[in-house]
Amino acid sequence: MRYKRIFYSIFPVLGLLGGLMMSSCGGPGSGDLPYLGNHNTVDGQTVYHQIRPFSFVNQDSAVVTNATFAGKIYVADFFFTSCPTICPKVKKNMLRIYEKYADRPELVFLSHSIDVKYDTVGRLKAYADNLNISSDRWHLITGDKDEIYKIAEDYMSVAMEDADAPGGYNHSGWIVLIDDKGHVRSYSDGTDAAAVDEFMLDIEWLLQDVYGAAKQ
């Protein structure tokens, strides 16, 4: 009985320490970038947090699923076209990343609109045209509201655990880096140009780790 009580009292502390160790040490093969999020152990193997299966529609009315991003790394965010403050700043910084890695088609972008009523495919298309982005590399998607909110928690749970992160993933301005296996590897405040510069170092590292040296 006494041991049970001791176990229950230290269990949360052990869990917290374990989580911290796993998120700070990273996964197999990752020298610098950790695998972020909550991990599980199945049959003695660590299973890293992975983005759940999804199916949305992009600015070209094309269906976008996890398979669209298979073998690619991508930057994800949440926005809405009528957003007057944070989203334009985030888009400006994402555009910097998009342009910097114009010769790396392995790096793609996924922006989820959380305004499923007003951000129609046509409106997303106009927004994409205004940004002058290609739907091959940057998907602006819409879909079922509950699905988008659920997947936002999947992406942003990592950022939301950060004490410095502003509350509310749907207006936080956070951008997230996902590897070719659907694992969250880095995140940044997308409104902050200096933070995005740092984030680009993580992109650089991940590109190198997954694909090797840049094509000449």
Partner: protein
Amino acid sequence: MLKKIGYTLLALSGWWMLACSDPEAAQQKAWDGVMVVHDEIMPWMGEMNRITQDLKGKVADPSLSVEVASQIQTAVEDLDAADAAMWRWMNRLRTMDELRATETHEAIMAYLAAEKQSIDELKMQMQSGMDAGKALLASFSGDENQKQ
């Protein structure tokens, strides 16, 4: 000494009058006032959705009384209405560039004052929807604790 203070006061009041008489600065200040509230309440949308989903999950419980089911229904409708109102507001809000291109200073200031009032009302609507939803959910956890 008194002369110096007099000149300083004169310069300060001149600066103050200039700042107040600058229409664009006044418009920007009014716009920023609206945006402060917008940025404060926009992150609540996710929380409203979460509360709504939790409440909808409770409706599936067959042991619920008609009265409680009706309370949940009302809470969900209130949250949905607040969510829809926020999106409607954002989608019809005119930008400063658009306003400046088409409206007089007085019309812009009147428009922004009206929008400030609208967003303040929206804030109250969202807050009250979330409070009611959370209170209902808390009453369920209270019931569950009692059962255990």
